[in-house]
Subunit: 331 residues, 2 copies
């Protein structure tokens, strides 16, 4: 039983795991005491938390342990970036059945370590406990570097809405996995290991972004949060959404006729979640680098088209297919 | 089904829950955006995380939702206090079956809110997800207020070991619950709702504590961490451990003969976990307030009695009954 975490024992596993994480300039005190100490040079700490549950947020048969480690880091550090902050450190709660293979825990750790290296952060603390349900709770901290945070509430009429990072690829990857069909590797990999544009968060703050968030529930639904928080209306230009060739290929594999593929692909870009791209509002005169792709405009809320039931977001002036995602709902 | 969290829906529940938490001077930005922003006035943030799993760390038949809320806060803020820091804020990941009664979630929230009020902190963020296993992941942040952190590694030969807060009561409460017998309310309440001496953490730092931790796995086992980290030996004086009358009553109810009750009670004070009292090492000339009870001395590691398998802690000069607790082990 030495090849399960129950056989190995908690303390041995913690020692093995924590040895994986390098220290950084942000770490004043790493794992091993009652608590860690993280530098907060400008007198503020940005903090967010997410819980990943097996069977709900990942499946061991669809994602490797390493994938899950990457994803756990990515979705939390994306939230830090979406405030205009630099990801610094993580605390990870790991609840697992005692028959979980040690190899799974070690591969998960390697995924966390490698995604931390991409984002520029590291792990400073955690907890390991037994549970019938494999559950990973991640808290991410970040540093604003003296900048004002970019909230959801600052978008103003006339602002440009721009995105950076992939859109729709993760949803396509999930659909391929659910359908049990092979498809473009990029879609599968973006579902398994999203690649948030971490550095673009602080960059957007420097560029004068008035509002920003990360796309976890779909572009339309998430921009609805910006519209409501800012008291504005957002209209997206569907023709500005240029589907990746891999996304077009995926929707064809999934059964869409070739001539309808671009429209279906744009639907995934509008409604598909879990890409962890960033969407931001910028003043109309902001000079955006090419990787920030303009996709819409902020308007007066009174210009809002459609019924009172839309989310304050339209596509080409019409009520948008948003969809919703309730984490307690069936399925 | 509106009386279950699945029927109510995630967003409604989050709105209800976050309305419970007041803002404080430590909160720059509370819940509702991609991340929260917490003040870190001295340029550092103390951070720790713990996961509570139903059936492992609490039982719904033994603890009310309110108890679990209190406990989730207490065990995390105790870790903050054990660094010599002041508890400031929490992020809470809440993973629950969709058939969990809304009332349970709301009572849990009330317990969190009330324990936060005792500790002086508040909740700034969280996540709510579905899971077959009710799981609560808490991350606590704290502020050192310009003081040096009190680590586990600073104890020096000659230092006095002192404790503040209850010892053994939680273990007695658990034994009563496991035995299905009634007993002193104080033991049951300390098991259900530990009462860490939060303010004593920063106080110990001011008093010059050289090492400190919170007692979660038992006094002997936890002081073993201090002994190893500091490269010292710790000898406890069992006669300095004065059992509460309620603890003596509990061990008698649990079947110990009256004349042996004090010894059994001291055994629970030495080995019982989850009280979240604080134990610290102080220089011999430190003037300790009465609530810091001296319980032992730090000695040179070379004076260590017993075999190489002890934890660096003796009681009255003899190898100590420490016990161990492996979170992945059976039972």
């Amino acid at each position: 039983m030495r090849n399960t975490i129950g056989g190995l024992g908690e303390f041995t596993l913690i020692t093995r795991v924590t040895a994986q994480f390098p220290t950084t300039d942000d770490v004043i005190l790493g794992p091993g005491d009652d608590a860690a100490i993280v530098a907060a040079p400008d007198g503020r700490t940005v903090a967010t938390t997410d819980v990943l549950v097996e069977g709900r947020h990942f499946r061991r048969e669809w994602s490797s342990a390493r994938d899950v480690g990457h994803r756990a880091v990515a979705q939390n550090f994306a939230d830090i970036a979406a405030m205009g902050a630099r990801p610094t450190t993580l605390l990870i709660g790991f609840a697992a059945p005692s028959d979980l293979p040690v190899q799974w825990a070690e591969d998960f750790t390697a995924g966390v370590r490698d995604e931390c290296a991409v984002a520029g952060g590291t792990v400073v603390g955690g907890d390991m406990v037994g549970s019938d349900t494999l559950t990973i709770a991640v808290t991410a901290l970040g540093d604003l570097g003296g900048a004002d945070p970019v909230l959801r509430s600052g978008a103003r009429p006339g602002d440009v809405i721009a995105c950076t990072g992939p859109l729709g690829l993760s949803a396509a990857g999930l659909a391929l996995l659910e359908g049990g069909v092979d498809g473009p590797a990029l879609c599968l990999s973006e579902h398994r290991r999203p690649s948030p544009p971490y550095a673009a968060g602080a960059e957007a703050a420097r560029l004068g972004a008035t509002a920003m968030l990360d796309i976890s529930d779909g572009l339309v639904q998430d921009l609805g949060h910006v519209a409501r928080a800012s008291g504005v209306h957002i209209d997206l230009d569907s023709m500005s959404l240029e589907p990746d060739p891999e996304l077009l290929e995926a929707v064809r594999i999934l059964g869409t006729a070739p001539e309808r593929a671009p429209e279906t692909a744009r639907g995934l870009m509008l409604a598909g979640g879990e890409d962890h791209a960033l969407a931001a509002a910028f003043p109309p005169d902001a000079e955006l680098p090419a990787h920030w792709r303009p996709v819409g405009r902020v308007r007066q809320a009174s210009e809002k088209a459609g019924s009172g039931t839309d989310f304050g977001v339209t596509v080409d002036g019409s009520p948008a297919p948003g969809g919703g995602w309730d984490h307690f709902g069936p399925g």
